[in-house]
Symmetry: C2
């Protein structure tokens, strides 16, 4: 993996984005922001599933008016998502928001943008310049390739803000097309010193959208690009957070909860590996420690992978070998596979809790 | 994207792997190979979902004996997966298999390997040198980093086969750890001229395993590395094929079926976007043409993305604008969103079928 790109850190509430801070996971509420209780509840759910910064849509005056009440109850830093009307950005700043996202494709007036920047500078609130392929003005560099248009739109806005002596900036360049998105972030990475917020926009339903997001964000993070990520899925926002952490865990950038290694099963397997893996995975949902559990169907890779895992099973005909950190601790009958693994997992978790206390 | 790495093409039955051939999608049956009917049925399912080459585990003599009957009924090229016993490889070649996969970590005897190579050369059947991190002999370069050990194991076997005047070779270097896997393939890419088979081994259940596979395979394919892919998931093999195509489609390397662009929804949405996206996705399952359909919650990116799509909807309060290739074709009431989209999708599909006939 390439060494992480250097960026000037900013603070969204108590969370640092950029610099040496871990890559931050964010999401967005899908409730009506004006429905204060529903929005607070969803922010609570998001915090529980590991989200670190939450964005709320602020489409009108009523939504702005909900911000103080949401801020009072929500423990996550709150970003207001603003389009079209600069006055909503000003009002959101007044209402105590921790960060602003404005879309330079949707607020084109320089004077209006200058007013937002002046207010944000006074309150020391960062602004994300959130460019989106779907909302680029059609008359903006119409002949240039899409990635270049996105980058130039962001650079234009960045320079405008810098000239106003404002540098609490974060930038995103989202498109649905993954190669376009990757190219755009690569192009801007060494042109500006600000943190980059990564995302594949409108990635769709979780089954395909997680794959698209994983490829786009994976390629960029592997190249050391990206300081915070938001996975956009047509689903409950906690699914976005799950996918975000799986991406970061896969690249060793964050840890969160258990990891299940399990074989795909084949004509060699003597037991129902898929059912066993699903049952173990269900048990692992409540584990918060970063343990690695292996469920293997046979001896081909079984012991090898199980050795690498904290806990594992290599299944054979009617019986299986339970491994713990590379050592066989027991041989169990097929009817006891799941219980034996659960016991090992729970005992390992206890060890972790014990260690955590020290 | 980097230009694709050059490789010497090989043929697995009627399917070309490497050279300028499209990246080939393969999977593996999870039935007991000795259960001929179940295995044939699963191969049939795999062909229907788009699989292009299928591998079957051949763990014993009975499994070998099933090969001729499976070959007779199965229309996909068939690869035998062999571990430990070189005689099974010889027997599989005799039984008419289209390709062999042997694991150099599990057949270490040079004379045995030479016998397999001689028989494969005679029948002009390609062999995959399938290295797996979990089955590397512990005494093989124990002090080297894992990726290097995997690469050196593959190179040792490759040179051995070359010395026997055999070059119908394909190589894989699979580990669960994605950065290790990526590094291994990158290291071997310019050391050998053979096609590379990509995979993340034991990637787990679909929800997390698809993400791990997408990152690993995505990074490599983006760098032009990879001639065939197999996604390993603890699930029905058609799920592996689905994920494989989504990875390839995301990078523009293959086309298959419709693509749904849908927004994640937020406090700005006036309709239930997730439910609408799910209903549209269900309808798209039967579409085989590579059309792009957009379901957007509001006007922020809606028209922009809908313009880019073949068919799209940008929803507003109680009504939505249906787009077709960049033009509004109608405005529909909320209760008619789904039907209107379905009609557009079906009519577009008809156009495609019409075009296909010409």
């Amino acid at each position: 993996m390439t060494q992480r790109r250097t960026s000037i850190p900013i603070r969204i509430g108590r969370v640092t984005v950029g610099g040496n801070a871990p890559v931050v996971v964010q999401s967005m509420t899908k409730t009506d922001t004006r429905d204060i209780l529903a929005t607070i509840n969803q922010i609570q759910e998001l915090e529980e599933c590991g989200c670190e910064i939450v964005r709320v849509a602020v489409p009108d005056k009523e939504a702005v008016e909900a911000i103080p009440a949401i801020k009072r109850e929500a423990s996550l830093p709150l970003i207001a998502d603003i389009h079209f009307d600069y006055r909503l950005a000003l009002a959101a700043l007044q209402a105590g928001i921790d960060g602003l996202r404005i879309n330079p494709g949707n607020i084109r007036d320089r004077e209006q943008t200058a007013k937002i920047v002046a207010a944000a500078r006074e309150k020391e609130i960062p602004i994300r310049i959130g460019v989106n392929a779907g909302s680029l003005p059609v008359n903006f560099e119409p002949d240039a390739p899409l990635a270049e248009r996105m980058v130039n739109m962001a650079l234009e806005q960045t320079r405008f803000m810098e000239n106003l002596n404002f540098n609490l900036i974060k930038v995103s360049l989202k498109a649905f097309d993954v190669p376009t998105t990757v190219q755009a972030y690569q192009m801007i990475a060494d042109k500006i010193p600000y943190p980059l917020h990564l995302g594949i926009t409108e990635a769709g339903l979780p089954r395909a959208g997680a794959i698209r997001s994983a490829i786009g964000l994976g390629i960029l993070l592997y190249q050391g690009i990206g300081d915070t990520i938001r996975v956009s899925l047509s689903a409950h926002p906690c699914e976005e957070v799950f996918v975000a952490y799986e991406i970061l865990k896969t690249l060793g950038l964050r840890q969160r909860g258990a990891t299940l290694v399990s074989c795909p099963s084949c004509g060699r397997a003597e037991v129902d590996i898929v059912a066993l893996a699903e049952a173990v995975d269900k048990h692992l949902q409540k584990i918060t420690n970063p343990i690695k559990v292996a469920v293997m169907g046979c001896v081909v890779n079984g012991p090898g992978e199980a050795t690498d895992a904290d806990v594992g099973i290599a299944c054979g005909k009617g019986k299986g070998a339970i491994f713990r950190k590379g050592k066989v601790v027991s041989t169990v009958k097929e009817e006891n596979f799941l219980e034996a693994l659960k016991t090992e997992i729970d005992s390992l978790s206890l060890d972790w809790r014990g260690l955590a206390r020290w």
